[in-house]
């Protein structure tokens, strides 16, 4: 409460060996991450990966089977949700349908028995923060989805929690509105300095909004890192595929030089790549290459990997074109090319030579890829 106007102080959140078992199902297993105070942290994963279960344990709606949760160094194990002082925005918004916008946002202040004048002032500030001035007397059913979302956000921030938990908050909005709300959320977070723990299955959303991301699968954290780190240096094929998109080629390491390795694909193609971990000659690997790193070129530079293929399919997407290029026995690669004014459009059936940088070819030992 001592914080300056509109400025909450975010708390550090630390999860230690967090585990949740439902009957025979391990929903979350040994999750240990530290979320820096005031940062935007995302739990990213497909459905069933344990991300929402993890969030619900932080919120206090589920009890961990094992492990601890610390907020600013203090364990919250014994505290019920209402004593944790964490703001939460639900997937369904959970705006109280029988209360006006004002009453919704005033709710957390009134259960804390704040004086009426203070409640009115703070609700006014919160409405301004989410740009809903003048909506205070409306009922939720008179609001659009995006507006209800803002009410839920204002309500979760008005009591100045140290941490804001968000469970797929933008899932129900259309694409344009979602992009707009992403920017709004970032603006609001910068303004109030709250620590955000955000759950989503949308990798694009995670990349654009987060300071750090934990990619989850099957209840475990696969990798934690900044957006660029996860995108450029995934530790395994799952992360490479879930965050963005990747072409995969299986093969065997022929020779190595530092982290670089020459790989012979099962279908004969040879190319250089960089190991996610140190590699040995003879080891089986899966190579991952992003579609936008592959370039159709007429005269590729000698230091680049290259191979010949035939355009099998063209998908024009305005800003870019996606080609499915058949490489014969190696398989089919997806290639993404920005549509610059000068670039030549390829047509289905055109022969093409693809070139790509060995630095953009990530090699995972077969043991990592299961």
């Amino acid at each position: 409460m001592a914080a300056a106007e509109g400025v909450g102080a975010g708390a550090e959140v630390r999860l230690q060996d967090l585990t949740k078992v439902f009957g025979a199902v391990v929903a979350v297993q040994d999750v240990s991450v530290t979320i820096a105070a005031g940062s935007f942290f995302t739990l990213l994963g497909p459905s069933g990966s344990g991300k929402t279960t993890t969030l619900m344990m932080v919120a206090g709606f589920l009890h961990p089977t094992r492990g601890e949760i610390f907020v600013d160094g203090a364990t919250v194990a014994g505290l019920p949700p209402q004593k944790r002082d964490l703001g939460m925005v639900f997937q369904s918004y959970a705006v109280f349908p029988h209360l006006t916008v004002f009453e919704n946002i005033a709710f957390p202040l009134e259960v804390r028995k704040l004086p009426g004048a203070e409640v009115r002032r703070r609700v006014g500030e919160a409405l301004e923060l989410v740009r809903l001035q003048g909506y205070d007397r409306r009922l939720p059913r008179q609001l659009s989805g995006g507006e209800q979302q803002r009410v839920a956000l204002a309500r979760a921030l008005v009591f100045r929690p140290r941490v804001l938990l968000m469970d797929e908050p933008l899932g129900a909005l259309d694409k344009k509105l979602r992009a707009h709300m992403q920017l709004e959320l970032k603006r609001i977070q910068r303004h109030v300095h709250v620590t955000v723990v955000y759950v989503t299955h949308d990798q694009e959303e995670a990349l654009t909004m987060s300071d750090r991301i934990a990619v989850m699968r099957g209840g475990r954290v696969e990798q934690v890192g900044g957006p660029a780190e996860l995108y450029e240096a995934p530790v395994n094929p799952f992360v490479a595929d879930f965050l963005g998109e990747s072409n995969f080629i299986d093969g065997v390491v022929l020779t190595t030089a530092d982290r670089r390795a020459l790989v012979r694909a099962d279908a004969g193609l040879e190319f250089w790549g960089v190991g996610a971990t140190p590699l040995r000659a003879g080891e089986r690997v899966t190579a991952a290459v992003r579609p936008e790193k592959l370039a159709p070129e007429e005269a590729p530079a000698p230091e680049l990997n290259r191979c010949k293929g035939i355009v099998a399919e063209v998908v024009y997407a305005g800003d870019a074109s996606r080609y499915r290029v058949s490489l014969g026995a190696v398989g089919t690669m997806t290639v993404k090319v920005q549509n610059r004014l000068a670039s030549r459009q390829l047509a289905s059936g055109d022969p093409v030579e693809l070139a790509w940088d060995p630095a953009h070819t990530r090699l995972f030992p077969a043991s990592v890829s299961e």
């Binding site: 709606f61 209402q82 639900f90 369904s92 959970a94 259960v111 979760a156």
Partner: protein, 297 residues
């Protein structure tokens, strides 16, 4: 008032295009069978009752005078309303927590419990009432247990008195209360209560400020339904009540079956109807039913 009506009509005429009007006719056509059935089976007999209550050999208000001048009829009417009120409150007290359990347990368990709640409807009300008479008698199971557990020194009078009537009626009407409240509670998003907790509300605060108001339409509907049905109850009070536990429906039956004074029976029926409608109007003022029935989001 009149001016308002005219404006509304004018606006209606302006906005209603021919397509809209055709749509209205189609709705009317769909309602027609129900309207005809209501007219033939409800409105026509009701008019007959109204007519008979003021006409025997000639038009007369004698029967109404009789009702309001004989203390016993007023006593019975008072008793009827008192019993209905007690039964309604008991049903609410027992039914609300039960409906809450139904609405919050796992879906599969909820299905089983709903069947348990509805199960009594599969047996005739008379059979069930006789079963209660066996249970509640002087040497019935209930009294035997009470004495064995030391909760009562001698058999309690649970039958052939007001207690028997209230127990029997509460039992019969409870499922209706439970189902009405449950149907509303089912539509309450559980995330709303969680949201209240996450915003700092204690369980009591979350219930009072969020869950109770959201389930209020169920309480309103359930109490109204149980109360109105209680007013006209016949079998249970007739079998489980004592000589002084006479409800208005029993008086009507007596006039129809034994004294064959159909006009007086009609008068009592009309009095019951008018009092019921009056009760509905008062209730409507108090709880604003139309506001509760507005679309919940």
């Amino acid at each position: 008032m009149r001016a308002d009506g005219e404006t509304a009509l004018a606006v209606g005429a302006l906005s209603a295009g021919s397509a809209e009007r055709r749509e209205q006719w189609r709705h009317l056509a769909l309602l027609l069978p129900a309207l005809l059935a209501l007219a033939a089976l409800f409105v026509y007999p009701l008019l007959g009752i109204l007519f008979r209550s003021i006409h025997k050999t000639s038009y007369t208000l004698e029967f109404y005078r009789q009702v309001f001048r004989t203390p016993v009829y007023l006593t019975v009417i008072g008793l009827t309303f008192r019993t209905a009120t007690i039964v309604t409150l008991l049903c609410l007290a027992l039914g609300y927590p039960l409906a809450y359990v139904l609405a919050t347990v796992r879906p599969r368990l909820a299905r089983v419990l709903v069947i348990v709640v509805v199960l009594p409807f599969f047996t005739s009300i008379i059979v069930r009432t006789y079963a209660w008479m066996v249970l509640l008698g002087r040497n019935g199971i209930v009294n035997q247990y009470l004495i064995a557990l030391g909760l009562a020194p001698a058999p309690l009078p649970l039958l052939y008195n007001a207690a028997g009537v209230v127990i029997g009626m509460t039992y019969v009407l409870l499922p209706l209360m439970v189902l009405t409240i449950w149907s509303v509670m089912r539509g309450i998003d559980p995330a709303l209560v969680r949201a209240a907790h996450s915003l700092g509300a204690s369980p009591a605060q979350a219930f009072r400020r969020i869950y109770l108001p959201l389930s209020a339409p169920g309480i309103a509907g359930g109490t109204l339904l149980v109360f109105l049905l209680s007013l006209g109850f016949f079998i249970t009070p007739a079998l489980m009540g004592g000589p002084s536990d006479v409800m208005i429906a029993m008086l009507i039956e007596r006039e129809v079956e034994f004294t064959l004074n159909w006009s007086f029976a009609s008068t009592l029926a009309v009095v019951l109807l008018v009092l019921t409608l009056a009760g509905f109007v008062v209730y409507n003022r108090l709880v604003r039913l139309e506001r509760l029935f507005e679309g919940r989001s």
